[in-house]
């Protein structure tokens, strides 16, 4: 696997170094967040717009509840059937559940009243337990068997945020395409000037050097994942509605993207690629070992993509929330300026990471495609 050209340019090398550094920082910080939560002492919740803006202020208004940073952070990082806005205000989202015994049920999550009430749907009665939809049996207790068979395809917060980003992406790029049609043969202007450098960047610095002359076929996919990841990353950094959801830090989404890459790479693999996997250039007695290694390699490459994106974005969200949580852990406003300063720094870093992760995901996808379609072996 020849990855040298990834490090061809100083800029790229720098980017890689910064990426590794930020990944390292993020991982460390998430570890700290965990220990912090363990060490956290009981404390009153100080009202702060900052926390509400981060969508993390789920503390009870009574002020006597124990503040648990882990709970707050995981609540934000994880998915939800509500889109929390501020204080007690949330946007209810549609719940769509399928159970083996009866079929599909569709209702608003407002019926749960934040998990305080059950909802009797057309098929079953449902209850929200720790933001999970469970089936309630006739005896008023949770029916574990039915709950296990329940398939929840609700429009959750992450799904809704993803739809928002899809709409944003479609609006931006279809209007840009309109501008290109209107101004044929002229220089870029307005929205074109914004999107064109990135499109050309994906083409000239990601697709062309890694895939070679067959790059044109893969451009739509590469551009789509690049902008999909990037715009979702950026929307995730906005603390208020419609941003703030941890869309690209969700393992299900990164799983889908990496499986898409896996499929595209392997569907386009030529005979050299398959020969390299099943008949590698090693002594025959090494074949059983090498074939296993190569097949694992096929899976592990997109798997690494999945973990990398998920971990980076999640870690970024965790560190920002951990810094905000410091205010509540120390129970003083005095720490707020320090927290805010660090959050500002992290947000700027996350802005870089948002681009970087989109870039790395796209670059590695292009690299894998390039290895699959390469003719000279």
């Amino acid at each position: 696997m020849d990855c040298n050209h990834v490090f061809d340019f100083k800029v790229k090398r720098l980017i890689v170094v910064v990426a590794l550094l930020s990944a390292f920082l993020s991982i460390r910080s998430s570890a700290y967040a965990q220990t912090d939560s363990l060490a956290a002492v009981a404390g009153n919740e100080v009202p702060s717009t900052e926390v509400h803006a981060e969508g993390a202020g789920h503390g009870a208004p009574g002020g006597e509840e124990k503040f648990e940073p882990t709970k707050v952070i995981v609540e934000h990082i994880a998915d939800s059937h509500m889109w929390h806005m501020w204080g007690e205000t949330s946007i209810p989202l549609p719940v769509i559940v399928y159970t083996a015994n009866g079929g599909l049920d569709l209702f608003s999550s407002a019926h749960f009243h934040h998990g305080k009430e059950d909802y009797k749907g057309a098929v079953n009665t449902y209850r929200l337990v720790e933001d999970k939809v469970k089936v309630v049996g006739a005896d008023g207790k949770i029916d574990e068997a039915a709950s296990a068979s329940l398939i929840d395809i609700s429009i959750t917060k992450n799904v809704a945020a993803m739809f928002v980003s899809v709409v944003v992406i479609l609006l931006v790029f279809i209007s840009a395409a309109g501008a290109y049609k209107r101004r044929t043969g002229k220089g870029p202007r307005g929205i074109q000037s914004i999107v064109e450098p990135f499109i050309v960047f994906v083409r000239d610095d990601i697709a062309r050097p890694n895939i070679g002359h067959k790059y044109a076929k893969f451009m739509p996919y590469l551009l789509t994942i690049f902008f999909f990841i990037w715009i979702n990353n950026m929307l995730g950094l906005i603390p208020i509605f419609p941003g703030g959801a941890n869309v690209t830090g969700n393992i299900a989404l990164t799983l889908v993207l990496s499986v898409a890459t896996l499929i595209i790479v392997n569907l386009n693999g030529n005979k050299h690629y398959w020969k390299h996997i099943f008949f590698p250039d090693v002594p025959f007695w090494l074949w059983p070992l090498m074939v296993v290694v190569e097949v694992v390699g096929v899976i592990s490459k997109p798997f690494a993509l999945m973990i990398r994106l998920f971990a980076n974005i999640t870690a970024g969200h965790i560190i920002v929330l951990s810094l905000i949580s410091l205010i509540f852990i120390f129970k003083t406003m005095a720490i707020a300026p320090v927290s805010i300063a660090f959050v500002l720094f992290m947000d700027v870093l996350e802005l870089l990471v948002a681009f970087l992760q989109a870039f790395i995901f796209t670059l590695l996808t292009a690299l894998f495609i390039g290895m699959a379609v390469d003719e000279h072996h």
Binding site: V159, F173, K181, E196, A216, A252, T314
Partner: protein, 164 residues
């Protein structure tokens, strides 16, 4: 563990949203945008190539002009030289001719003068002779009226004849 457990709902909707996005963008965004960028780059390339060609053509033309100028200058010099020679010739010829003409005129004039002189002399002689004859006649007439004087005259004439 919940964080690293992919939920089926998000997978389901992500697949739908992503495929939808991919197809729509492919048809309505990437195709026209990439096509437009490619066309623009092509036209810029063409323009640059043409500029390069024009530059070569221009330098060729300049060289040609230079050549033309040079030959024109040479031709001009030649023409000037020829003209000068011609002028010199003409002037020389004119001079020669004028000189010849002058000489001829002078000659003519001299001949004329000579002729006139001769004529004048002849006339003068004529007149002198007539006059002298008349004078001689008168003198003779006067002399001949006196015998002595006639004799003297004859004697003198004879003397003169002898002297001659």
């Amino acid at each position: 563990m919940e964080l690293v457990t992919p939920s089926i709902g998000i997978i389901f909707w992500t697949v739908i949203a992503f495929v939808f996005l991919l197809i729509l963008l492919r048809i309505f965004a990437w195709k026209p945008i990439l096509e437009a960028i490619r066309e623009r780059e092509q036209s810029i390339d063409d323009a640059l190539n043409q500029a390069e060609l024009a530059k070569v053509e221009m330098s060729r033309l300049t060289a040609q002009n230079e050549e033309l100028m040079k030959s024109a200058r040479a031709e001009r010099d030649l023409i000037l030289k020829e003209a000068k020679t011609l002028k010199d010739n003409i002037v020389n010829e004119a001079k020669t001719q004028a000189h010849n003409e002058g000489v001829k005129l002078i000659e003519k004039a001299r001949i004329e003068i000579d002729n006139q002189k001769k004529a004048a002399l002849a006339e003068l002689k004529d007149q002198v002779s007539t006059l002298s004859i008349e004078i001689a006649e008168r003198v003779l007439r006067g002399q001949l009226s006196d015998k002595a004087k006639q004799q003297d005259l004859v004697a003198n004439l004879l003397k003169e004849v002898e002297l001659n």
